[in-house]
């Protein structure tokens, strides 16, 4: 397992490794954000995307010989800070939402504006699109 990774790492030029890995992470994160319905998972997906970006950034920092570029590292740190705070805030919101509605999925989108907001039961199977909802049902807190 490790060996495999190392071989990959050695075969790929370091200049190319980080960007590629970052891009892959970014794409994975995007996919997760789209497919997952539990909000916590979505937030995690976003974090994966974020780390993808930072990976690319670090790659930039590590580019060339000599000591890595301090600016890039500074940027990475700042970025991480921002990401962490955003994540924390998002989690807080999700907790609040779960308290209100009893499950951590989003209410349906705009077209509900004629319907009273309280009863989401009617809209529930619409929530974020029909059958996918079933998939999301098992990762609700029991």
């Amino acid at each position: 397992m490790n060996g495999l990774l190392e071989t990959v790492a050695h075969t790929l030029a370091p200049g190319l490794l980080y960007p590629t890995g970052g891009a892959i992470l970014f794409a994975l994160g995007l996919y997760g954000l789209i497919r997952r319905h539990h909000l916590v998972l979505r937030i995690l997906a976003l974090n994966i995307m974020g780390s993808g970006v930072f990976m690319v950034l670090l790659g930039v920092a590590a580019r060339g010989e000599g000591p890595p570029d301090p600016v890039a590292q500074a940027l990475t740190l700042t970025g991480i800070v921002v990401a962490v705070s955003a994540t924390a805030f998002a989690l807080a919101l999700v907790v609040h939402l779960t308290r209100l509605t009893g499950h951590a999925v989003m209410l349906p989108g705009p077209p509900d504006d004629d319907a009273p907001v309280e009863d989401i039961s009617r809209e529930e199977h619409h929530a974020d699109g029909g059958p996918a909802d079933r998939a999301s049902s098992e990762d609700r807190p029991a």
């Binding site: 789209i34 497919r35 319905h37 349906p108 705009p110 077209p111 974020d128 699109g129």
Partner: protein, 573 residues
């Protein structure tokens, strides 16, 4: 003498009309109504010739003047309106809506007086329109169904005449470059202008084939109204012709022949249809048509014989005056049917007044009719007219015979309605009005002979002459024949207003066709239900679509698609 007086003549009735309208039922105001015609009469009698006035600020410049023709017509019109007005005062005494009658009366009077004085197209048109439209009020006054029908026909023809006259005037004025009547005539209107003028004025003058409002309107209107209608108003068309047609040294053969044809045809058809009528006033109406035919023919002659035009125009004028007075008197006669006196001398006088105008129209020597006919035939003896026109003189005489017969028919029908008034007391006012008009039958020729107006060569010989007798005798014979021939009955063989019946039938058919088309009335309509349903469905579709867009799958897809699209477009150099 101040020209402003000319304006005062038509203005006076207008002012009174306003007062009568605002203060209905004021006896004093009503009593003033007939006398508003008096200034016209005085002006005709006293005013110096060539009296004129120009008012630039009125309309687009108004020009009034009193010329010899105008003087004659003014005298006739004012006198007739005055007499008829006096007659109306007593005849309308207990009519609850008489003030309405008086208002229309005054308006029509103003128009009639004004159009005689008007010397420019606009003013002439103004007064002409005023007269025609107000006369409608007189026609329908009784409010009976037949009156409404007559009114409808009258109004349609009057309005038609208005617009035709308008178009004709516009054309004529445009080609003349100015709006003075004299200038317009001098510019010899032709083509469309001429046609339109002849028709527009001809409707008023009861010209064939646009005559059919007369036999409907006259019987429907109250007696004094019919008197002025037939005596004065229809002369307006004649006056218009004399003022606007190219009657000058060049003449106009085509138009002249056309008018001769129409005129003589009217003269005979009027008699033929009139004879088979049953109602006295209808018979008189047809007689008017035939008499107007003679005057039309006179105009035609003036166009055919340019060098004799002066005498002919004077003759036509004279004929118009004579006919106006006599016919007015006869209509009043029809209104006197309820006044058959009880006393013998009274009856004698009654008979005299009845016969005088009738005989005058028949053209008995020493009456106005004799003079008029002679003066009209005067130039014919000398001239040799081409073609069928050479028999004009004979035709005129025959027409006179017809007139005699027609009038006898009138008296015969009329006599059946005679009755003595309930209280037996003669109505002085009616007697005066009637009598004075009837008397004119002999006074007029005397006056003309003694103080012969300029341009009218009258010799004593014109007053008699046996040439006039045989038509009358012939007329008596004809009358006798018709008496034998017509088994009298209450519905005329030819319906009153001959052509009008056809026209109305056509109109009704048109209306039915229009109704059959069932065109939707121009009303706002609601959006059709189908569209409303469609709108609701669209709303639903939109809602669903937005819901689809809201799915995270869609978001991600679109997001990636957007990136891809942007990238590709950026590549496309």
């Amino acid at each position: 003498m101040n020209g402003a007086l000319l304006l005062a003549v038509p203005l006076l009735p207008l002012v009174l009309a306003v007062f009568v309208g605002l203060r209905p039922g004021r006896a004093r105001l009503n009593r003033m109504v007939p006398w508003t015609a008096l200034p016209g009469l005085l002006l005709a009698a006293l005013a110096p010739t060539g009296l004129e006035a120009t008012f630039d600020s009125l309309l687009m410049g108004t020009h009034l003047a009193l010329d010899p023709t105008g003087r004659a017509f003014l005298a006739l019109t004012a006198g007739l309106w005055l007499a008829a007005g006096l007659f109306a005062l007593s005849e309308r005494r207990d009519d609850p809506r008489r003030h309405r009658f008086y208002v229309f009366w005054l308006l029509a009077l103003a128009g009639n007086l004004g159009l005689i004085l008007a010397q420019d197209a606009l003013a002439f048109y103004l007064f002409f329109a005023l007269m025609s439209l107000s006369a409608y009020g007189l026609v329908v006054h009784s409010g009976k169904p037949e009156a409404w029908r007559a009114g409808r026909v009258y109004l349609i023809l009057a309005v038609l005449g208005e617009v035709l006259l308008f178009a004709g005037l516009v054309l004529a004025v445009h080609s003349a470059g100015q709006s003075g009547l004299a200038a317009v005539a001098a510019a010899r209107p032709d083509g469309w202008a001429l046609v339109l003028l002849v028709l527009g004025l001809g409707i008023k003058a009861g010209m064939l084939p646009l005559h059919f409002w007369l036999p409907l309107a006259h019987p429907a209107a109250p007696v004094p109204a019919s008197a002025v209608l037939s005596g004065a108003m229809i002369k307006a068309g004649l006056l218009g012709w004399m003022r606007l047609l190219p009657i000058d040294a060049a003449g106009h053969a085509v138009l002249g022949e056309m008018l001769m044809l129409l005129g003589l045809a009217a003269a005979f058809l009027g008699v033929l249809i009139g004879v088979v009528q049953v109602r006295p006033k209808t018979i008189l109406a047809y007689s008017s048509i035939s008499q107007m035919g003679l005057m039309t023919a006179g105009i035609g002659l003036a166009l055919l014989l340019p060098e004799a035009r002066g005498g002919l125009l004077a003759a036509v004028t004279l004929y118009a005056v004579h006919h106006g007075l006599a016919k007015g008197a006869l209509f009043l006669t029809a209104g006197m049917a309820g006044q058959w006196p009880a006393s013998i001398p009274g009856r004698a006088l009654f008979g005299l007044f009845t016969l005088l105008p009738a005989l005058a129209l028949a053209g008995l020597p020493f009456t106005s009719g004799a003079l008029a006919k002679n003066v009209l035939k005067g130039p014919l003896a000398a001239e040799a007219l081409p073609g069928w026109l050479s028999h004009t003189e004979l035709l005129l005489s025959l027409a006179a015979a017809g007139t005699t017969a027609l009038l006898l028919r009138f008296l015969w029908r009329w006599r059946t309605g005679l009755s003595t008034p309930a209280d037996g007391a003669p109505d002085r006012r009616r007697w005066w009005a009637w009598g004075s008009l009837a008397a004119m039958a002999v006074l007029l020729p005397l006056g003309v002979w003694l103080a012969g107006p300029d341009g009218l060569p009258v010799t004593a010989g014109d007053l008699y002459g046996l040439a006039l007798l045989w038509p009358v005798l012939l007329g008596l014979v004809l009358a006798g024949i018709t008496w034998r021939w017509i088994h009298d009955r209450e519905t005329p063989r030819v319906p009153e207003g001959d052509l009008a019946v056809l026209a109305e039938a056509a109109w009704r058919r048109a209306c039915r066709a229009e109704r059959r088309l069932r065109l939707p009335p121009p009303q706002p309509r609601r959006m059709p239900a189908r569209l409303r349903v469609l709108r609701l469905q669209l709303r639903q579709r939109l809602e669903d679509a937005e819901r689809v867009l809201t799915r995270w799958e869609t978001i991600g897809l679109l997001f990636s698609a957007a990136m891809l699209g942007l990238y590709l477009t950026l590549l496309a150099r």
